[in-house]
Subunit: 276 residues, 2 copies
């Protein structure tokens, strides 16, 4: 079981991010593949998909935007509903962090004297968990890699990811600031012999969709499957193109259908034909 997203590029929803002018065309194009061997632009060119149509909400506007998606959760399934009326998407921010310390011998460098990247990373993760519980944000470190890790070597460098989510963008701004502050404090405590370099790789803003568009979905849902099979309004925990399109002031809403066991982005993902 896995929930992997963005298998080839670090960020997601790049098309809608550029279209809504939250990310420049140049930045979108230079999105590197995870193996660092090509950019998104290289890949688009390779398959002849680069195109000439303007990727712009101004030059190529939409009058409304409705997105059909599997729920990627169990709320519909648990309540035996077949249509979910989505009224909002929580904000999602992805970061990648590189920690640099000093590699040292496990048997001759006293623990107090070390600038151990694994220990610094662990301290940050422990902080993030308690801070997330305190503030109510969703905070996740899902990837941790020790560079040239060896059981008898004090690690000199780690890489890890941070995923922050909440419906309130202001709160996410505050959490981001506190995260940076904590990294600085951890670094200062070791006379800056441990450093954190954090980069934001994706930002899907928290949005509330347009009431008229939400009503359209609710009414159409009730007409097609009956009011008892409709759930909502409900929030989307995952990020979607709709969040970006909506941020360009396009009337937007989303329709969820059940996903078995809440599974998503994995071979076991499944929605029955009747629900689709």
């Amino acid at each position: 079981m896995s929930f992997r997203e963005g298998p080839r590029y670090a960020s997601g929803c790049t098309g809608s991010a550029v279209w809504s002018q939250r990310v420049s065309l140049k930045a979108g194009h230079s999105n590197p593949a995870l193996d660092r061997r090509a950019t998104l632009r290289d890949d688009l060119q390779q398959i002849d998909y680069l195109g000439s149509w303007p990727v712009s909400c101004e030059k190529n506007p939409l009058s409304a935007h409705f997105e059909l998606h599997i729920e990627q959760g169990r709320r519909l399934e648990n309540e035996k509903k077949t249509i979910g009326v989505v009224d909002s998407v929580q904000g999602i921010r992805w970061y990648k962090v590189i920690v640099r310390g000093e590699q040292a011998h496990a048997g001759s460098t006293t623990v107090a004297d070390r600038a151990d990247a694994v220990v610094a990373t662990s301290k940050f993760i422990v902080f993030l968990e308690s801070f997330a519980i305190e503030t109510g944000v969703y905070a996740t470190v899902g990837v941790v890699e020790v560079q040239n890790g060896s059981s008898n070597v004090v690690s000199g460098s780690t890489y890890f990811t941070v995923d922050l989510r909440h419906p309130n963008e202001d709160l996410l701004d505050q959490v981001e600031e506190s995260v940076i502050e904590e990294m600085n404090q951890l670094s200062t405590a070791k006379n800056n012999r441990v450093t954190f370099a954090m980069e934001k790789v994706w930002h899907s803003p928290a949005v509330t969709f347009t009431s008229k568009a939400i009503q359209c979905v609710a009414q159409a849902g009730c007409r097609v499957v009956g009011p008892k099979a409709v759930m909502g309004p409900m929030i989307s925990y995952a990020g979607h193109d709709s969040a970006l399109v909506s941020s360009a002031e396009v009337p937007t809403a989303m329709i969820f259908v059940p996903s078995r066991d809440g599974l998503s982005h994995c071979p076991d993902e499944w929605t029955s034909k009747e629900d689709w």
Copy 2:
């Protein structure tokens, strides 16, 4: 720069560990290669090195044991000495740990409700650092791997290594007990939804060599390079076959020669011909 040891097998000094009867022949033979495709016995058979001579300090005894080795540190180099008289080796214990939690969605499982393997691992590492500073042991987590890690997934499992070293075996016993206790506490705090499975993969005991053998090395060193170029008695921070041989009550000592920049087990390892 790296200090990797045991490139093909998890444990080291297997021959001397079996010979000194600290590890059974069967256990030594079943030592798996890191790729899990063969055991040490398979590999010995493959190159026709299995042999029939008894690997036993009783059936195949030694009257004395002297081991020449590079220092794997900078003490000789820093003091411009060319011979180190080693009188002791600190105890080394290697463990591998598998943490199991519950994989969950980063955007819909509240942080307090999670059984996050990365967070549990981090809490253990933070504990180990402060406990090591308190007790004076050398404790290192040099490898951390998140199984099926993904930036937007709460991790369900991690693997990490622990390296403990100290000249006092009793203290190492106590630290080992406290480590297990901390793991149990971290597990209990999450209603056992997070579990730690720890396995000791190598144990090189702390030893003090035989005074007569130490004197032999000191006298011979003084005769060959002169007393000013001899350092000692000094401890070995790394594990060696001599520690195991000595534990079988064989008169043992070691001779260190300088290793440039303290580097060891890497392509830059170097000892000049004059020092060898």
